[in-house]
Symmetry: C2
Subunit: 248 residues, 2 copies
DNA sequence: ATTTCATTGTGTACTATATACACATAGTTA
DNA sequence: TAACTATGTGTATATAGTACACAATGAAAT
């Protein structure tokens, strides 16, 4: 085990989205800080998963490392949505590394690079159980206890997600490998906060030759079983034209 | 004049685009470094405009400051296109601040935040004349002497520009306040590397109610004078629907 | 005064995509 | 065998995209 040097004034924050077939959720870390003597609750809120970068890793690697620690998963879809260096960003208590840094005459500044991560809920549920980490519906974040800076990052990530989802087929990252068209439709409705006509939605999907029907059908459901589909990135790459609009 | 503290390991690089009614250009700084004794040329290449951030400014302010120094202009269109922390990024000779930083035990790392800037050529020509700064056609960058990291940033910026220009009306930032439809068409053709049918292009622009014809016409041109138009951001904000595709 | 020149400005037919809208079907459960 | 629940399908209309050619303007040259 190598001991990494931390870069004190550069951090990465991950906004992790998941979909439970009903609504869009975000992965947050519960934080509780108590006074050492009295045991009184000083802070009780939620934070994004984030940490300083190490001196021997690039930004993407730092985000990957953080997500691995959080979910146990490698190969998570990751994309930067911005770098943030507001002067009033830092509100958290400072660790020793950081205080050393300031004492040596360097500026009391953090720049954080925001990553948005999309994960397939069905793959991660097990790994989370003994951590202070859980899913929260994105629609509830507004009312939650959460530091101003992290709430800001969350909304920037959500905006970026809504923008990108219309232009690139990244929403499939939120679904299991096999999914039904109703699940896909519910996902887009949750992402964009709209609703679509079922027939028109399916007509549109039918034009996307990279969404491929399987032989497999749903089993054990108390209604007509739905057909499963898969998303083929390979076919997507081959058949995409200069077209922009992906859905809507 | 306040003396600013520099944050040694965080920088901002600006990729500045301009349009001369013929082609898309990028603003680069010529760099020549000679050996102090022999006078032999050590480096002769081009760099992006960039510098470390100060401890009392946020990232946008740093980019604004750099552009002000370069062009004399305030109010330049600016947008982040990414943060970059590749371990092999740093190749430039180190200044004292940076060496101090390393000597104090901190990591030998720079993270740079890339900004893409769009400027109206007609407003900037004067201010540039006595600087080692000039316009280069983007099509020539491939063959130019330029550090690997800056070339990489340039291409990332160009990709981001081509993506954004299709989805938001930012191309107008590259034109003067009044412009002709032929100029607008040439601009999109230069940006995207394609060509459009004149009648169809104009039909499309006619649907954009925020591109407004003026009474004014071209004067002194040796052919039928073109009508001038202006872009109204106000009308754009009011009339845009959920639509994605802007041009193409 | 007339011609030449360069660039602007316009219309139509055809194709493709977007939108609005209602009912039969499959398979489980009661 | 009847009831339930979600799946899966088609058509008519409106809107947007594409392909394509020639007359009009005003300056400059003869």
């Amino acid at each position: 085990m190598i001991s990494h040097k931390i870069v004190p004034n550069i951090s990465v924050d991950c906004v992790v989205f998941g979909f439970d077939f009903e609504k869009l959720n975000v992965l947050l870390v519960k934080r509780e800080m108590k006074d050492e003597k009295s045991g009184a609750l000083l802070i009780s809120d939620h934070t994004l998963a984030g940490y300083h970068i190490f001196d021997d890793e690039d930004l993407d690697s730092a985000a990957t490392r953080i997500l691995k620690g959080l979910t146990g998963l490698d190969n998570i879809f990751l994309e930067q949505f911005g770098a943030f260096g507001q002067l009033d960003r830092v509100s958290a208590p400072r660790d020793k590394m950081w205080l050393d840094y300031i004492n040596q005459g360097f500026a009391d500044r953090i720049v954080t690079v925001g990553y948005l991560a999309l994960i397939d809920n069905t793959k991660v549920t097990l790994t989370l159980k003994d951590r202070d980490v859980s899913w929260f519906p994105v629609t509830e974040v507004r009312e939650m206890e959460m530091g101003f800076d992290h709430k800001f990052l969350f909304y920037k990530a959500l905006e970026a997600l809504q923008r990108k989802v219309k232009v690139e087929p990244i929403a499939f990252e939120l679904l299991p490998d096999n999914f039904t068209l109703s699940q896909l439709q519910k996902l887009y409705e949750a992402l964009l906060g709209t609703s679509f006509d079922k027939r028109n939605f399916r007509k549109k999907v039918a034009q996307m030759h990279y969404v491929i029907p399987l032989k497999k059908k749903q089993q054990g459901v108390p209604h007509k079983p739905a057909q499963y589909y898969l998303f083929s990135r390979e076919v997507y790459e081959k058949t995409r034209k200069g077209r922009i609009s992906f859905i809507i």
